[in-house]
């Protein structure tokens, strides 16, 4: 899997912030998770809200819950203190963002500046089936 060169991390972070399916605060938590891989809520809070008063704990919990619902975070309930880990890797997430951006710059969007070989939104399984048949028929004929 391609991992981004370290110098590019700030750019990628900036871009992911802008086009993210996640809000800024959610993304901040994810960054911590990606770094730590398995971590508790208080530890997350310390990293995300280092100077804040204890009341930020509720905010962190809420965000974690939202991320869990969206499928980004996995909660380990085996102990009384829950552990959190990311469900989707950072690279996968970045790739997702790129893919959706490409869709938005492809045919059928306002700025159709990409010449895609395949418009992901435009292939149906019926198309593939019928094309498969056409090719097989031709193969059969030639064979």
């Amino acid at each position: 899997m391609l991992s981004y060169p370290n110098e590019s991390k700030p750019y990628v972070a900036m871009i992911m912030k802008i086009f993210s399916a996640l809000s800024n605060s959610e993304l901040a938590i994810m960054e911590v998770l990606w770094e730590a891989d398995r971590i508790t809520a208080p530890e997350i809070r310390v990293q995300v809200y280092p100077d804040a008063a204890k009341s930020q704990h509720g905010t962190v919990q809420k965000l974690l819950q939202r991320l869990e619902e969206k499928g980004f975070v996995l909660r380990d309930k085996t102990h009384s203190l829950h552990f959190f880990s990311p469900r989707i890797s950072r690279d996968d997430y970045a790739a997702n963002q790129i893919e959706s951006l490409v869709d938005r710059l492809g045919s059928g969007s306002i700025a159709p500046l990409i010449t895609n070989l395949i418009e992901r939104k435009r292939i149906s399984s019926e198309d593939i089936k019928s094309i498969r048949e056409i090719l097989d028929k031709d193969n059969g004929g030639r064979a």
Binding site: L113, I123, S124, S125, D138, R142
Partner: protein, 539 residues
């Protein structure tokens, strides 16, 4: 430039490009060479962007209006022409700086049409938003992709030679599961390939994919993207644009396939197989989220494409001629304006020709013609009304000013009559005899009132008044008619009380008109009624 001309631009271009689109659609159903059909679809987009520049007198349309590329409604012409050409106007303006109403003509302010404002705002927002996306994507491409491995670059160079492209473009590999694509990165196109796909494909398949992307670059399709983009920004409201784009892309792909296969670098079957493998890769639910499956519908364009790859496809003998025919037609169609010319016979002729050649529905042609008629009528009516209102208002203002000047003794009555006449001539141009008559009557009535007033005030004697009025009447109406012959003796033999009453009423009416509380038309009518009134018996 004004709101009306922009709307005309939009409608004119939309109409013609829709016609071209319909024509292209018909052709695409028949076995016409893809290259030709592609050119016609492209013409649809180009037509949308090029403003109506020329009106062809040969076809019976009105001659070119003027240097501006926008349609100039006749009202503007009326006033601007007179402003500069008429010497009397100049003289008049010099003497009376107060009468600058000729210069301050309020017109269809660009900003008053809400439709235009809305459309332009949305276009502007779309432009900004899409530029932002493009910037983001460019950044992502440079930071989240890497240079392609040596073997791929070598393969690309080889294929580029076969396809006769000068320089092999930059190729980048990206980890995301995006489709292989051509992207215009800062003035030059680059090819982007997804890492996973490259690893899955065989060498032969990879060759096919690369050849396809290189074919796009050879055909400069990435430039057509900009044309599409502009059209979307400006004509986002037009469904024909969306529909045409799908067809343009579909035919573009077919043309690319043709180009690849014509270069004889591979077997059609292998090429088709490579494309299918790529499609299957992306149809995989692991790659594509299941939620997207529901969005997809089959429009048969993909199937057609594969059939064309497989079948032995020989380009017809007429393709060469047909392409040049399309280019020639483009020169005529692109700058053409359909609506501005009000010669409906010519439009009808052209539409019927389109029906013959392009087999556009007769009903469609009839509907278009009907719309044109309605639009033209409405435009005519509203333009006429505007002109009339303006003229009336200006004339009334002028009359008032003159009246005041005369009353204050700053201008002689002779001069006044002359000036007013001059102004009226400018304003109304050639008018029908009846209009001229009416205008004269109005002026005569105004002067008559004034003279009466003076007689009553004792400024001039009755005889003087009579003579003046007589001379004015002669001047206005000539010797032929003796309208409003003043029954001089009769009138002035009436008791002074009645005269005074009449004069007072007339004065009141004049004041009301001056203050704007009564329209000129109503005043005229009232005065006429007063004069007809047996109580006063001025006739």
């Amino acid at each position: 430039m004004n709101a009306e001309s922009l709307i005309l631009f939009g409608i004119n271009n939309t109409l013609i490009s829709s016609l071209i689109a319909g024509f292209a659609f018909i052709l695409s159903k028949k076995s016409v060479a893809p290259k030709v059909v592609h050119m016609i679809w492209l013409l649809v987009f180009l037509k949308l962007l090029i403003p109506p520049l020329l009106h062809f007198p040969v076809l019976g349309l009105k001659g070119s209006n003027n240097t501006d590329w926008v349609y100039q409604p006749s009202t503007e012409h009326c006033f601007t022409a007179h402003r500069s050409e008429n010497n009397d106007a100049q003289k008049f303006q010099d003497k009376n700086p107060a009468s600058n109403t000729l210069r301050q003509l309020p017109y269809n302010s660009f900003f008053t049409s809400p439709l235009i404002v809305l459309s332009v705002s949305v276009s502007f927002l779309l432009a900004i938003w899409s530029l932002y996306r493009i910037y983001t994507f460019s950044r992502l491409v440079s930071t989240c992709s890497k240079e392609a491995p040596e073997q791929i670059l070598k393969l690309a160079t080889l294929l580029a030679e076969q396809l006769k492209i000068g320089k092999s473009p930059t190729i980048r590999i990206c980890s995301a599961n995006i489709s292989p694509m051509v992207w215009m990165q800062f003035l030059s196109p680059i090819i982007i390939l997804p890492e996973k796909l490259i690893k899955t494909l065989s060498d032969q398949d990879l060759k096919s994919i690369l050849a396809h992307e290189l074919a796009h670059i050879k055909r400069r399709d990435y430039l057509v993207r900009y044309v599409e983009w502009l059209c979307f920004i400006l004509f986002w409201w037009n469904p024909v644009v969306w529909w045409a784009q799908r067809h343009l892309r579909a035919i573009e792909e077919i043309c690319c396939d043709e180009l690849v296969l014509a270069s004889n670098s591979m077997n059609p079957r292998d090429y088709a197989q490579a494309l299918l493998s790529t499609m299957e890769f992306f149809a995989n639910p692991v790659i594509r989220p299941p939620a997207m499956a529901s969005e997809i519908f089959s429009d048969g364009l993909l199937e057609r494409r594969f059939k064309m790859i497989i079948q032995k496809h020989t380009t017809g003998n007429f393709t060469f001629l047909a392409r040049y025919a399309v280019i020639a037609a483009a020169f005529v169609l692109l700058p053409m304006s359909l609506i501005v010319g009000q010669d409906f016979k010519a439009v009808e002729l052209r539409l019927s020709r389109a029906v013959e050649h392009g087999e556009i529905n007769k009903d469609q042609a009839a509907a278009m013609l009907k719309t044109l008629h309605q639009f033209d009528q409405k435009k005519d009516q509203s333009a006429k009304k505007q002109i009339k209102d303006k003229q009336e208002r200006l004339y009334a203002e002028m009359e008032e000013k003159i009246y005041l000047l005369v009353k204050n003794g700053e201008m002689s009555k002779q001069d006044a009559a002359q000036k007013l006449e001059g102004f009226r001539k400018e304003l109304y141009g050639e008018k029908t005899k009846m209009d001229v008559m009416v205008a004269r009557k109005n002026r005569y009535a105004a002067l008559e009132m004034e003279i009466h007033q003076r007689i009553i005030d004792g400024e001039i004697s009755k005889k003087e008044g009579q003579m003046k009025l007589e001379s004015v009447r002669k001047e206005l109406f000539g010797e032929e008619k003796t309208i409003k012959k003043i029954p001089a003796k009769k009138e002035y033999q009436q008791p002074k009380k009645r005269n005074a009453k009449l004069a007072a009423q007339e004065k009141e009416i004049m004041t009301l008109v001056k203050e704007g509380k009564m329209s000129k038309g109503a005043a005229k009518r009232k005065l006429e009624n007063l004069q007809k009134d047996p109580q006063f018996k001025t006739k």
